[in-house]
């Protein structure tokens, strides 16, 4: 009995001490991590919409499932964050669309796959709208799953923009 109890107890105590130490470190670092991530998001937003000012996160219902976050900016544009599945889940992409429905930029925020040429895919979409964007824009790359996922993310962003535009038009008509 002692032979079984002591190892279990020792392992349990070590786990407990490690958890307490990590909780203490987390208490100190959590606010700093949050601040650093907020700065990172702002930087990424500015990259996909260089002329955008004052981004605010908004909540909109009825958007495509891939769209996880929506940011509006003072000039009437929106930045959409999409999470799609490439070779693995967790391919997070930001896409900026201005008030006229024109794509201002797109970029990877994070991914769980090894990216090479796909890193620069976003610039292919700049200047396109929902009418002009085609799958040929990304067909040049050999990494089909990642590029297909990228394309589906951009499509979801454009669809989300259409929904938001229709909603705001509807609200104006009601007034």
């Amino acid at each position: 009995m002692k032979n079984k109890l002591f190892p279990t107890l020792a392992l349990g105590i070590i786990c407990l001490v490690v958890v307490l130490v990590l909780a203490a470190v987390n208490t100190v670092t959590a606010p700093l991590i949050e601040k650093a991530q907020a700065e990172k998001v702002q930087k990424a937003l500015a990259e996909v919409m260089p002329e955008g000012v004052n981004f605010t996160e908004i909540e909109v219902d009825g958007l495509p499932a891939a769209v996880t976050k929506v940011y509006s900016e003072d000039g009437g544009g929106y930045v959409f964050q999409m999470s799609v599945v490439g070779y693995k889940p967790g391919l997070v992409i930001l896409c900026g669309i201005d008030a006229n429905g024109v794509i201002t930029g797109a970029d990877f925020v994070s991914s769980n796959e090894t990216l090479s040429a796909e890193v620069g895919l976003g610039k292919n979409f700049i200047g396109f709208t929902s009418d002009t964007v085609t799958v040929e824009l990304v067909a040049g790359s050999t990494a089909k799953k990642t590029t297909s996922a990228y394309y589906s993310a951009i499509e979801a962003a454009l669809e989300a923009f259409e929904i938001i535009s229709q909603n705001s038009e509807g609200q104006e008509d009601t007034k």
């Binding site: 002591f6 020792a10 990590l22 470190v25 670092t29 991590i33 650093a36």
Partner: protein, 232 residues
């Protein structure tokens, strides 16, 4: 006493260099030596974890039961790695992003678990710390050496600073995975050559016990008998 500590320290850097002699920690070595900054960051991160885990495991060596020692070591190492991840994410987010998944993979780095099992659990705290420092510096030096060769000759830059005259002579494959293996091989060969002058790398002798080929070999490998010899 003082010489003993110095010998432990130097052992990790030269005679038992974890990367170039023991060939441990190959995954982060190949993955993070594409540029000097990421190699330096990985070396420092692994060294810190190695020193702290060696110290704690040595401190608890009489308390940790033998039957659960490996899970205990892994929990201690994982604790240090997670704390380091949080600290880097908070204070040096660019380094955290650069190291990516390889930072978390320090938990399963064979150098750290290997030193815990082979050294820290049998030796006092100070010796274990010295071993951690020596092995850590050895790891760091090997990474820096490899990253310097790969970045200077592969990307014509050093730590991100461009070297204009190298631009015409650069060999881009060195920054890719095959180039990593190539440089790694050459550095191991160079280390072996240097060690030959000092009497060569000591080969450890293992008994036949536990060897899957024991029934066919009958100790032939120990006696230098080649496969196919009938006079066994």
């Amino acid at each position: 006493m003082k010489n003993n500590k110095l010998a432990i320290l130097l052992k990790g850097i030269i005679t038992e260099n974890p990367v170039l002699i023991l060939v441990l920690g190959t995954c982060p070595t190949l993955a993070t030596t594409g540029n000097v900054i990421s190699a330096f960051s990985m070396g420092i991160a692994a060294t810190l974890v190695l020193i702290c885990s060696n110290a704690v495991i040595s401190l608890l060596r009489k308390v940790i039961p033998d039957t659960v020692r490996i899970p205990c070591y892994i929990i201690i190492i994982a604790g240090f790695v997670t704390a380091l991840q949080m600290l880097l994410q908070a204070y040096l987010p660019s380094i955290y992003d650069m190291l990516g998944v390889y930072l978390a993979l320090i938990v399963v780095n064979c150098i750290i678990l290997g030193r815990a099992e082979m050294f820290a659990r049998k030796n006092p705290v100070l010796d274990s710390v010295m071993d951690g420092v020596g092995m850590g510096i050895g790891f760091l030096v090997a990474l820096l050496l490899m990253a310097t060769v790969r970045e200077v000759f592969g990307a014509a830059s050093f730590a991100g600073i461009s070297i204009p005259f190298m631009e015409y002579f650069k060999i881009p494959i060195l920054t890719q995975a095959p180039g990593g293996y190539l440089v790694f091989g050459f550095l191991i060969a160079l280390m072996n050559k240097l060690n030959q002058k000092r009497g060569g790398v000591k080969k450890k002798s293992f008994s036949c016990e536990g060897c899957p080929s024991a029934s066919a070999c009958h100790g032939g490998c120990e006696n230098g008998i080649k496969e196919g010899d009938t006079n066994v």
